[in-house]
Structures are given as structure tokens and as C-alpha cells.
């Protein structure tokens, strides 16, 4: 995707300003967020000026309610779920919080022995930090499940953790696909391990949804997180799918919307746009999955040819990995140097994670996969999505060699050495 226009928020009293980027942009960060699809923009704007409050009893309220419920049915259909499974939220982070805290509180209330929370070591911070907060403040015992060198949680590992004391486990949460390295977990198998002991299983499917088949029924999970803006919907909308009969304590109390689990006026335009994006992404998925995988394979092959010392992190390309994900380590380089140099060339990608002040940190995912700190620091994630083209790969390949050469000169000063 190239040549985007960037908006600048108008100053009070001033006219909106628009700025064109000075260079064409090669956007290889779709896993962070992906541009809104035209279908979603159309649905969003159509509803934006019209919608009433979906809880109101008058005609405007009924119109809004109808939009919400049709969106719910449409999303349920593409997700292999029942409409009543969906609880709309403000995004993936809220959904993960609701799942982890809500399941923990409800399970512990039913039996105070249930304090253990089992999560994989490679979860998104929305799961990891929520679980660690429960451990610090709410009496939970957090156990992180180790992963192999590709980032995979083996069902035997989960089984061993559960079986050490099944009655004390409150919940299990393992993400469907990893946000950094794209490794796809055997969620149904893992869910079965938990279910053997009547333990609820949650999966964060934020990265998986829209890139691979994600059926709630086939996942066998009890709760599943999705987010709109990762599939071409708007930011600020997400959902937690919760299977019937699974109790979740609410985070937000109030008007009792969304089965009394998530109070708050429904975001009708956002929900409508979410459903529109989901329908579009699902229709394209079989072809897009193949197209992205081939583009990604091309990207990896050509980058490795330009930079012989680089290595691909995570699972081998194929069924075990998201089709749009390429995560590479460039030995002897610091990821933030690489990112800065690529950015200067109009190539946008991502390092593992940064703290709120912007300091790059070695990825906890790579560290959990057994990488050393230097290896983890020297990595970049390139993620493809709708709109990605061969021209994007060409643009990256054209600059990656010189960029890595420069970054490794800076890396030598920092005491990193290649190889």
C-alpha cells in the first residue's frame, strides 16, 4: 500500500490541514492496524449520522437496534458462533480483560480454591498484564506455560500444568495466533485438555481472525477475543464471544447491555462497520490467504538473499503460521536502528514492543522462545494485509541490504557483533 494521505487534526479555530507524506509509504505493519476497508467505511458513515440509541424504545432506537442485531448475526455467521455468543466491547484489550478477569472472578466465586491462571508465555500484554494484575491484587496464582523454539504451546505442557492440581485452575488462556511471530496454536486440542477437567478455555484470536479460518465452534473455546481494526474495521470496537452457560463477571456495570456483561451504550456505527469488514474479509479469505502467503514467502526469500545472516523466527511458513507474518532477526543490529532507517526510506514495520515512553524492549515472545537478548533486540516484524502488493516487497528488498549494513555499524558500537 503506497502513497497514503495523512490527516492532521485541526487546531481550535483553524481549518483542517492535510499533509502528503514526502515519500511513498510501504506499509508492512498490518498486524498493528490495517486501513479501513471501503465496505466498513461505507457502513460506518451510513450509520454515523442516523443512529439512535439501540436501547431506546422509539423508532430511532429500534433502527439502531436492528443494525446492531443484524451486525451481530452477520458476525456470528462468519465466526461459526451463535448471535447470542457475541458481547460487543471497545476492542481487543477490553475483551481480553473481560475474559481473564470475568472468568477468574466467576470461577473463584463458585469455588475459592480456583486461583491458578494458566496462560502461555507469549500472550499479548492485554492477557499477560491482566493475569499478573490479578496475581498481585486479587489472590490469583499466575502460571505461564512455556513454548518451544517456534512459540508453540504443546498440549502435553498444558496437560502437565493442569494435572498437577486440576481443582485449583480458574481458567486457561492461549492465543490463537501469535501477534509477533505468527505461530498458530492448536487451540482445539488445548481447549480439550482444559475441558477434560471442566476448566474454561479462552483464546485471543485478534491476529488470527481475518488471516485464517477462525470458527468459534471448531476452536472449542469457551471465550474468544476479536478486534475490528485488525481486519479493516474501525478502531474502538471489538467483541468477546462467550459460549452459552459460561459465566463471566462484568467489568463495567450500568445499563445492563450485552447480556448484563458489558454495560454501555452500543457503538452502532462501529458495530455495523465491524460486521461489514468481517463479511468482506471472510469472502476474500480463501484467495487472500494464498496470495499473502506467497507474497510473504517471496519477502522472506528475497530478504534472506540480500542479508545472508538473517534468520526467520517462529514456525516454518505453512499451516502453522499466519500467512501475512514475517518475523526476522538481523544479527548484530538493533531493531530500533533498523526501524528508524527503514522508516527514513518510507518502509514501515515494527519491532517487538516499546514501553509507554517509546523505549524499545527485547520481545518477551522471542525471549520465551529461547532467544538471547541480543537476538531478540535485533528483530523486525513485517506483516502483510489487504492492499499489500509485490511492489511493497520490492521496496523493502531494495533498501534492506544497505539498511542492515548501516545498522550493524551502529550495532558494533553498542557491542553487538554479527554471527
Amino acid at each position: 500500500m503506497r502513497g497514503r494521505v495523512r490527516a492532521v487534526v485541526p487546531r481550535p479555530g483553524g481549518a483542517p490541514e492535510w499533509q502528503l507524506p514526502s515519500t511513498d509509504v510501504t506499509y508492512l505493519d498490518h498486524a498493528a492496524t490495517t486501513p479501513m476497508r471501503p465496505e466498513a467505511v461505507a457502513a460506518f458513515t451510513a450509520v454515523l449520522t442516523d443512529a439512535g440509541n439501540a436501547s431506546s424504545l422509539h423508532a430511532g432506537g429500534r433502527r439502531a437496534r436492528r443494525i446492531v442485531e443484524e451486525s451481530r448475526e452477520s458476525l456470528a455467521e462468519v465466526l461459526g458462533a451463535r448471535p447470542s455468543d457475541l458481547i460487543f466491547t471497545a476492542g481487543g484489550t477490553e475483551s481480553d480483560n473481560l475474559a481473564i478477569k470475568g472468568l477468574y472472578w466467576s470461577r473463584r466465586a463458585a469455588d475459592p480454591r480456583r486461583r491458578r491462571i494458566l496462560v502461555s508465555a507469549v500472550e499479548h500484554p492485554a492477557v499477560l498484564d491482566t493475569a499478573s494484575w490479578l496475581a498481585r491484587r486479587q489472590g490469583a496464582v499466575l502460571e505461564t506455560l512455556p513454548v518451544d523454539e517456534t512459540g508453540l504451546v504443546a498440549p502435553e505442557v498444558l496437560r502437565a500444568a493442569v494435572e498437577s492440581d486440576p481443582a485449583s485452575v480458574a481458567l486457561v488462556s492461549v492465543m490463537w495466533a501469535n501477534s509477533e511471530v505468527g505461530t498458530i496454536q492448536p487451540v482445539a486440542e488445548l481447549a480439550r485438555v482444559a475441558h477434560a477437567r471442566d476448566i474454561p478455555f479462552h483464546t485471543d484470536a485478534v491476529q488470527a481472525f481475518g488471516q485464517i479460518e477462525t470458527s468459534f465452534a471448531a476452536s472449542e473455546a469457551d471465550a474468544l477475543t476479536i478486534s475490528a481494526h485488525k481486519i479493516g474495521g474501525p478502531v474502538g470496537v471489538g467483541a468477546l464471544l462467550v459460549r452459552r452457560g459460561v459465566e463471566v463477571e462484568p467489568l463495567a456495570h450500568g445499563g445492563g447491555q450485552e447480556r448484563d456483561v458489558r454495560s454501555g451504550t452500543l457503538n452502532t456505527p462501529g458495530v455495523a462497520a465491524f460486521a461489514a469488514a468481517a463479511a468482506a474479509v471472510t469472502a476474500e479469505l480463501p484467495a487472500e490467504r494464498v496470495r499473502l502467503a506467497s507474497l510473504r514467502d517471496d519477502l522472506v526469500r528475497r530478504v534472506l538473499a540480500e542479508v545472508p545472516g538473517a534468520t526467520l523466527n517462529g514456525a516454518a511458513p505453512g499451516a502453522g503460521r499466519l500467512p501475512g507474518n514475517a518475523h526476522l532477526t538481523f544479527p548484530g543490529c538493533e531493531g530500533d536502528s533498523l526501524l528508524m532507517l527503514l522508516d527514513a526510506h518510507g518502509v514501515e514495520c515494527s519491532t517487538g514492543s516499546a514501553c509507554s515512553a517509546g523505549v524499545a524492549r527485547p520481545s518477551h515472545v522471542l525471549l520465551a522462545m529461547g532467544a538471547g537478548e541480543a537476538h531478540a533486540r535485533g528483530s523486525l516484524r513485517f506483516s502483510l494485509g489487504h492492499g499489500s502488493s509485490a511492489a511493497d516487497v520490492d521496496a523493502l528488498v531494495a533498501v534492506i541490504g544497505p539498511v542492515v549494513a548501516r545498522a550493524s555499524r551502529a550495532g558494533e558500537l553498542a557491542g553487538l557483533s554479527a554471527g
Binding site: 526501524l339 528508524m340 527514513a344 515512553a357 558500537l413
Partner: protein
Amino acid sequence: MSRMRVLAAMSGGVDSAVAAARAVDAGHDVTGVHLALSRSPASDRVGARGCCTLEDARDARRAADVLGIPFYVWDLAERFETEVIDEFVADYSAGRTPNPCVRCNERIKFAAVLEKALALGFDAVVTGHHARLDEDGTLRRSVDPAKDQSYVLGTLRPEQLAAARFPLGDSTKAQVREEAARRGLAVADKPDSHDICFVASGDTGAWLRERLGPRPGPVVDAETGETLGEHDGAYAFTVGQRRGLGLGRPAPDGRPRYVLEISPATSTVTVGPSSALDMRSLVAERMVWPHDGPVSCTAQVRAHGGVVPAVVTARGDELDVRLAEPVRGTAAGQAVVFYDGDRVLGGGRIRSLAA
């Protein structure tokens, strides 16, 4: 000046924001970088590194956004800890009074940052220091004497200065603030920073006590040799200090007593009358001094002090400095910088002083 790739070090304050803005106006390709120098454990993530510069990083990022330049945060906390903080503690422990800003310029801003910038393809590093740097590499005082920072830059080597740019040297602080407001930079009214950035409380004595622990010793009268009292740690004292000696009784002549000397080996703090503080010569080390023979010039011996006429003679790795007028209020560990008018001739670190 032809178009260069310039790295602007942005602290989150008004000076570095305006310096970056001027580099943009000069037509350079400017990238803003905030240096994360300290770390604190205040983060939710278990084992994660927090940043105590959150607010400053945000201010710097906002300024970069207004200027429309790329912005990144560089993590130099580890380097800063070993090169500046550890050294600061070691200096106090050895009875010296260090200037960490000088050290940070020597080892971080115009070393680690500069080297990384050059390696990454930048041509120069721009900072918001109030000093002038001529085309020929001559460092001069700012036109604003109250804000002049040539003293904390005076020990930089020529090769360090060669890739440095100080766009603010021809402006007063008031002009810089006015320009920031005109440019819509929200940091225009941000107060100046004065304290040591890594001593959050501002209480250096307490900060040192935490790290060095109690090291009790006597407070001794310089003239009589009599022990006047006890203290918890000599590092909490600086030469020239008058308050907080805790002696409980005045000197026999009724005049105030000052710290004259700190001997870390015996943990002894020597006090005496203000007249004994007068120093008329000093020896400097770790110098930058590209001159032969005795040079008559002026010397500045502390950050916000005046200058005194001096004659400087190089002797091997040291500078022998004769001062025409006595100076007070400086100590071993501080920088001494030599001037010819507003021109910096060189500088070094004070190793010892003598009356």
C-alpha cells in the same frame, strides 16, 4: 550550510525543541531523538523496564510532531548508568565533587549518541545548548551570559565538536521562549531544569546515603585540630559548604565555619574560616588543551561562576593553573574551563587546589 542529515537530541525542554526547529528551517533533514537515560521499576509488567522520563519523552514527541520530523527514543540507560551515575557515586566516595552534566556531554551526548548517529548515516548532532560554535570549530559563549553553557561543553575534544551544532548560541533564553510560543511548541513555558536529572528528589546527600550507606567520621577544626562533631558520611559535604554542618556551637571568634577539605580515606571533614577557602592555584587533569607554553587567559571554575585571570601551563598530562585572584566555591572533581574573552581555549577536571 549545505543540506545535511541531522540528529536533534530532544530532551522535552524548550531549548532542544527550538534548536531542532531551527535545523529544520535551515533546510536540513532532521530526525528527533529523545534519550532515555534513567529507568525506574514503576511499571505494571513484571520484570519490565519502566521509564521515568515519560513526561519529557511525551513533550519531546509532541514538539517533533509539530515540527513534522520523525521521532524516536534511544535507550541509553545502561551507558548512562555506568558512565555517569556510577562515576558520580565513585567521585563523591573519593571526596571529589563531580559535575555530571559535563560527564554526560563527554561520554553520552557527544560520544555514545554522536557515534551512533554517525554510524547510522547522520552528518551532525544538534542540541539546545546555549553556546556558539564557529565554522572553524571554535567554541564561544552564548550571547545570553545568564544561560551560557560553554562551561559544560568546554572539555569536549575537537573531533566531538566537529559533528556538533548549537543553533541557539546567538539567542537569549527569552528569545528562545518567544520563538517556541510563536512556533506553537507547547514547551514554551516549561520551567528550566536545574537539578541533577537522575536525583529525582533533588536531595543529593540523601541520594548518596542510599547508595553508599553511613560512613561516619569526625568534623575537625582546621586550625586547632580539635574534633568538633561527628557526621554520617563525608560524601554529603561539599567544599565551601556552610549550612548543615551540625556543629552545635560557633567558632571561638564567632565567625561562620565552612567545609575546607574532605578526606574520604579517614572520613574526615575539615572546617575553618571563609578566608581559608581562598584558592590561588590548581592542577587540572583529563584536559583538552591544544596550546604550548604558558597562556594568559581567564578561568571559570564552576557552572555559574565568574572568571578570574589565570596563567595556564601544560606539564605532561596536567595543567598547572595560577589564578590572579583567589576563587572559592569549587572543589576537586569540578571542571575548569579557560577563555579568551568569549572564546573557549580548553579545559579539564580539577584534581587539586591550593591556597
